[in-house]
């Protein structure tokens, strides 16, 4: 039997990672080599030959990656405008390490993949992934320091400014927040088959609940609640608030046909940022007294200007919220946003002394917190899928009428999926707010819904591993590749084509046309279209029982 030199997964893995190494270089080369090795190992045949082949291929892939890393180090990083990873970008250490670690990874993964007993194989994978996840942030430290010795591991933030170092850790934390959302959307869209296009709304609701209850914003308000409630309490409040809005939106619209739901959720996603923008000056009056006053008050509309007029009308009205006209209740802080939002604190509650407080900008603890949350959520959803409720969702997606005839209450089951999905998004939003410490209406635009949907679709609707993978690919492309590509293209154009041309307007034009980050939305759009045409089930489709048996 003639074997193809490379199968598709391997070719894509090598190609993608090579590009990634070319645009990121430095110590990122190691990460690229590891991911390439991982994918090669996973696609290997499950026998001895397979392992050997994976080792060889892994070595080749790592070498290619390292060469690309070298090109980055020696040429790309010298282009104007490209972020250099570290002053010693020409060092050979990361490149050598990349080859070694990449090869080892592919060997190890291929070996694990070849374990025949399914339970043990899964276990081994799990252990491998946990080890990778735990080691990972320590490899992504400020490169020189990390290599120069254990100092950096003991004190990871020394000398690392946020803009240049920790490119990956920061990206991965954000990715995990998005993956959390994607897992929630997977329940709604993947399991229950409901197209929710305003998923960002619940994210925003969660984030604003966190911002409102766990920052000085509430303290500054004229209420009796002059306190911060703390991350660990509010995070549940965020989930509950999101779930409540999910119920409010889902209850009337879920009984309707599917594509109407898409539009209603789309509209909802547009409304929430409007509300966030406009709820900075909240004043609520008792409606009946307000009505009477405004209609029959003696205030003369002609003589006073509109503003004064309004105040005159309100004089005898029973006021409920934000009564001081100079200081109405500020709910969302409008366009200026809420900041700073407090990070989580261990202890410091019920008489327990403060044990540990997270610091914004100190990424490692955040990384592990996000990791635990994501793993816990994945575990939860995994169990959910494998339960009576999960079966009901999937059966409903497969054939609504038959599911109904089998005793499944369609509206109730849909609503449940919608609410739990919303909860996850709210949860993610709360974490996000606390992590970035600053929220404003602009952070919850429509493109977040799109990105999350692209994650679910790309990775594989209805499959937890797939969705997480989708989240990683999408976010890495978004946060790392496009940004670097932009720098790269600008650098090249500036150095190669415009060195002799003195026309800033033309340069600016070409740069804005060639700005890779400006094509993000188009890229995700294309991902959606192409996936629908080529592989509607996603990169890793939901495992059907039949495939389990084949493996």
């Amino acid at each position: 039997m003639k074997q193809k030199l490379l199968n598709n997964t391997e070719a894509i893995a090598i190609g993608f990672m090579a590009v990634l190494a070319l645009v990121t270089g430095g110590w990122n080369t190691i990460v690229c080599a590891v991911i390439a090795g991982l994918l090669i190992g996973l696609s290997a045949n499950q026998n001895r030959d397979g392992i050997i082949r994976a080792g060889v291929l892994g070595a080749i892939a790592s070498i290619i990656t390292a060469i690309m890393g070298y090109i980055f180090n020696s040429w790309v990083s010298t282009l104007p405008g490209v972020d250099n990873q570290a002053p010693d970008h020409l060092t050979a250490y990361p490149l050598i390490l990349a080859v070694v670690i990449g090869t080892i990874t592919s060997l190890v993964v291929a070996w694990i993949h070849s374990i025949h007993e399914e339970a043990r194989r899964k276990q081994a994978f799990l252990i491998f992934m946990v080890v990778c996840a735990v080691i990972f942030p320590f490899f992504d430290q400020c490169p020189t320091l990390a290599w120069n010795g254990p100092i950096s591991i003991a004190n990871p933030t020394v000398g690392c400014t946020t803009s240049k170092a920790l490119l990956w850790v920061n990206a991965v934390i954000v990715t995990m927040i998005f993956a959390l959302q994607a897992l929630g959307l997977n329940i709604v869209a993947g399991y229950a088959g409901l197209l929710d296009l305003g998923y960002v709304a619940f994210f925003a609701i969660g984030a604003y609940t966190m911002g409102f209850l766990n920052s000085d914003h509430l303290v500054a308000q004229d209420t009796f609640l002059k306190t911060q409630f703390g991350f660990w309490l509010v995070v549940w409040g965020s989930a509950a608030a999101a779930a409540f809005f999910g119920l409010l939106l889902g209850a009337p619209t879920l009984p309707l046909r599917g594509d109407y739901l898409a539009i209603v959720t789309l509209g909802f996603g547009e409304i929430i940022p409007i509300a966030a923008k406009n709820l900075a000056e909240v004043r609520i009056f008792e409606p009946i007294s307000l009505f009477i006053n405004q209609l029959f008050s003696k205030a003369d509309a002609q003589s006073l200007d509109r503003m004064q007029n309004a105040e005159a009308f309100l004089k005898n009205t029973l006021c409920l919220v934000g009564c001081d006209p100079t200081r109405p209740f500020d709910f969302t802080a409008g366009t200026k946003g809420i900041s700073p939002i407090s990070p989580p604190v261990f202890g410091n509650i019920l008489g327990i002394p403060k044990i540990y407080a997270f610091v914004n900008g100190d990424y490692i603890p955040w990384y592990f917190l996000a990791l635990v949350l994501l793993a816990g959520s994945a575990f939860f959803i995994f169990r959910l899928r494998d339960s009576r409720v999960g079966r009901a969702w999937v059966s409903m997606r497969e054939d609504e009428l038959a599911a109904n005839a089998m005793g499944i209450d369609i509206v109730h089951t849909k609503l449940l999926a919608f609410i739990i999905g919303a909860m996850f998004s709210g949860f993610a939003g709360a974490f996000y707010a606390s992590y970035v410490s600053f929220i404003e209406p602009g952070s919850f635009a429509f493109d977040i819904s799109v990105t999350v949907l692209a994650m679910v679709i790309l990775g594989g609707t209805g499959n937890i591993t797939g969705v997480i993978l989708g989240a990683f690919i999408t976010r890495v492309v978004d946060l790392v590749v496009l940004e670097r590509l932009k720098q790269l293209i600008n650098g090249i154009t500036e150095k190669v084509f415009f060195s002799g041309i003195d026309n800033p307007a033309l340069v600016q034009f070409v740069q804005s046309i060639a700005d890779a980050t400006a094509y993000k939305v188009m890229l995700f759009g294309l991902i959606l279209v192409v996936m629908m045409k080529v592989r509607p089930q996603g990169l890793i489709p939901a495992e059907t029982a039949a495939q389990k048996r084949k493996a």
């Binding site: 009576r388 079966r391 109904n404 059907t544 029982a545």
Partner: protein
């Protein structure tokens, strides 16, 4: 044998716009019997089924099941009450495994909630375990065998899919099982085996069966009583042999012209 009424249809009528699909049908099923419902294509048999199982609400008339009216209830409530069905054109959950399909059929008989799904208390673990065992038994019973349990439903061969649908319908321990053309598209051998299964299922599980069928041989072979629908109206009812000889039935089925020619 004291005959206890399980289901009664009283003057059930269903109109779609100007078209009367089912017209004042009275119908009785006694406990433990296999009732056959036959009639030419488009005679309103499936519409009658759909009215009974809550997919449609009858324009007029009532269904009384186990002494209680079920007219106009939602399908999942009717299923919960004890009427379970299969579909004319197989409607399995294609991506789910055969086992999971049966487990979905058991939905109303299980109690796991979202929280229990996460914390998995002992009660739920037991419940799931028993449910799985029962589902495997059912798969065995309808002749799928435990080997097919993990196969995705859409990858099963056609005949197995029909049987899986029956297993799924049986999962909720229904009092009344409605089979909508279970032998459609089968060859004579498969038809024979399925007929045996239906007979078997009545004897072993004590389920009452209402069978829509096209193939006269199948219906006549196992039914205790046969009702004939034509043009939305019930034109005959009784023992298979009697019905078969009914001139009205011959006319509806074979056409007057043919009857003249045959004479």
């Amino acid at each position: 044998m004291a005959q206890e009424v399980l289901l009664e249809a009283k003057g059930v009528t269903k109109r779609f716009g100007g078209l009367t699909a089912v017209n004042k049908v009275d119908f009785v099923i006694y406990k433990g019997m296999i009732a056959g419902l036959i009639g030419p294509n488009g005679a309103g048999k499936t519409t009658f089924f759909n009215n009974m199982t809550g997919l449609y609400t009858p324009t007029e008339g009532d269904f009384i099941f186990n002494g209680k009216p079920i007219t106009g209830l939602k399908p999942h409530i009717i299923q919960d009450r004890g009427i379970s069905r299969t579909f004319q054109n197989i409607r399995l959950f294609g991506q789910l495994s055969a086992l999971e399909n049966v487990l979905v059929g058991m939905h109303t008989r299980l109690n796991g909630t979202v929280f229990e799904a996460f914390f998995r208390p002992k009660r739920v673990i037991h419940e799931e375990k028993r449910a799985r065992e029962k589902a495997l038994d059912l798969l065995d019973f309808v002749g799928l065998g435990r080997d097919s349990a993990e196969m995705a439903a859409r990858n099963l061969p056609y005949g197995f899919q029909r049987r899986l649908e029956i297993a799924r319908a049986l999962a909720s321990d229904p009092k009344l099982l409605l089979l909508d053309e279970p032998t459609a598209g089968m060859n004579p051998q498969e038809k024979k085996e399925l007929t045996e299964l239906v007979d078997h299922l009545r004897k072993e599980l004590g389920v009452t069966v209402l069978l829509i069928e096209h193939d006269m041989k199948v219906v006549m072979g196992i039914s205790d009583r046969v009702s004939v629908l034509d043009h939305g109206e019930k034109i005959a009812e009784g023992l298979p042999k009697v019905v078969q000889a009914n001139p009205k039935v011959i006319e509806a089925y074979l056409g007057t012209g043919a009857a003249a020619e045959g004479a």
